[in-house]
């Protein structure tokens, strides 16, 4: 049984059994911290990674085919066409896909993480927060589930199914494993030396009562939004509570016409984002 005293050690042991956290994502986070990321640097990093290069080429060629243009084969040229923001998303998304794909249930976890990342980025834009940090935090917010799944796959699945009925995921996880996936995920973020804001967002993303920072508020509400939009479609998607403090923190009004646009953008972007990954899982 995990507890607050043995958690750091237990997570360090489990982290060594997980697939290595993509170095390229850590490099990207370092560059974001230094605010020195350029398209050239990113494209050079991506060139050394065949899967990331392939995804960059796929997005650029998707656009070129719509315009009846021939396919590109150079990832750097492709990166310059799709722009630095998309290259950043591809680096993070591809890295996470590789990280979770070997775990049972990894496809759903990956697609859910992509959906939350997109919604978090949209909320960050809406409220003037860092879109990159929001996207990366969204990709990582449920990473603790990988560890719980590793500890006992059957027990974790049962907890998840039971919680989809009563919404008490955290309580059920704590009852079975000693701690919930938020505490485990936050500890993993510590183990990987990720920024403090990401640690806080992961730790409190299911907290329905309080707000620790705008990033945590964005991740918390993104979880709600993607479940409400059924992204990805799953019988487990339920909305039973909404963190009203997070709504106030970000200044949201669900009846604002801008929110309907935000929902549409989330759906549009999610559909496009999972296309290459679905193909790689097939």
């Amino acid at each position: 049984m995990l507890n607050s005293e043995n958690l750091a050690h237990a997570v360090a042991v489990m982290a060594r059994k997980l697939p290595p956290f993509p170095t390229i994502v850590i490099q990207l986070l370092d560059m974001l911290r230094n605010d020195s990321v350029t398209l050239e640097v990113l494209a050079r990093m991506a060139r050394n990674d065949p899967i990331i290069s392939a995804n960059i080429l796929a997005q650029a060629n998707h656009m070129r085919r719509i315009h009846a243009q021939s396919d590109l084969t150079d990832a750097f040229v492709a990166a310059s066409i799709i722009g630095i923001n998309r290259v950043r998303r591809i680096v993070v998304t591809t890295g996470m896909n590789r990280f979770v794909s070997s775990v049972p249930g990894g496809l759903f976890l990956f697609q859910h993480s992509v959906a939350v990342a997109i919604a978090a980025q949209e909320l960050a834009e809406f409220s003037g927060e860092s879109q990159d940090l929001a996207y990366i935090s969204g990709m990582l917010h449920d990473v603790g589930q990988l560890c719980l799944n590793m500890l006992d796959e059957r027990a974790f699945e049962k907890v998840y199914m039971d919680a989809s009925v009563d919404g008490k995921l955290m309580e059920r996880e704590a009852a079975v494993f000693g701690v919930d996936h938020c505490a485990v995920g936050a500890q993993l973020a510590r183990y990987w030396n990720l920024p403090e804001q990401i640690y806080s967002a992961i730790l409190n993303h299911h907290d329905e009562e309080t707000v620790t920072c705008p990033l945590q508020a964005a991740i918390c509400l993104s979880e709600t939004i993607v479940r409400a939009l059924d992204l990805p479609a799953s019988p487990k998607n339920r909305v039973t509570l909404i963190n009203q403090h997070a709504v106030a923190e970000l200044g949201l009004d669900w009846s604002d016409p801008g929110m309907a646009d935000l929902f549409d953008r989330c759906v549009t972007r999610f559909r496009l984002a999972i296309q290459p990954q679905q193909a790689s899982h097939a």
Binding site: I81, G83, N85, T240, I242, F263, T268
Partner: protein, 123 residues
């Protein structure tokens, strides 16, 4: 506090069916017409500002992508048949009722109402 599900809003879906289509900037084509303004900011400065009603040109698409614009709203020139949209709306509403459940808080009801008024994606 819980609200009565029978008080759910019954929206007129015509507006939802005819609303603009959101498309990724990787999917838009020259000749499409912006339904909503598009703007981009870098370092505190506006680097792009296009009003609604502008016809999208080939070079504009490249500029939007490079400036990090993920998706844009374009005019819905081929709206879904009203009957097809009614069927899609029925399925969409039924799914939302499952997701939100029969007993919902006032805050959940507010989000549900917004999603019901929005309706399913028209494109």
């Amino acid at each position: 506090m819980e609200s009565d599900p029978s008080e759910a809003v019954v929206p007129d879906m015509t507006h939802a069916r005819l609303r603009p289509c959101w498309l990724s900037t990787l999917e838009i084509k020259p000749g499409m017409v912006l339904a909503k303004p598009v703007s981009a900011v870098s370092g505190g400065y506006a680097t792009m500002s296009l009003p609604a009603g502008v016809t999208i040109a080939e070079e504009t698409i490249g500029q939007m992508i490079v400036k990090g614009i993920e998706c844009v709203a374009v005019l819905n020139t081929e709206p879904m048949d009203a009957q097809d949209y009614a069927v899609a709306t029925q399925a969409y509403e039924a799914r939302l009722q499952q997701i939100f459940g029969p007993q919902r808080t006032e805050h959940c009801q507010a989000l549900l109402d917004a999603l019901l008024i929005r309706g399913p994606m028209p494109c």
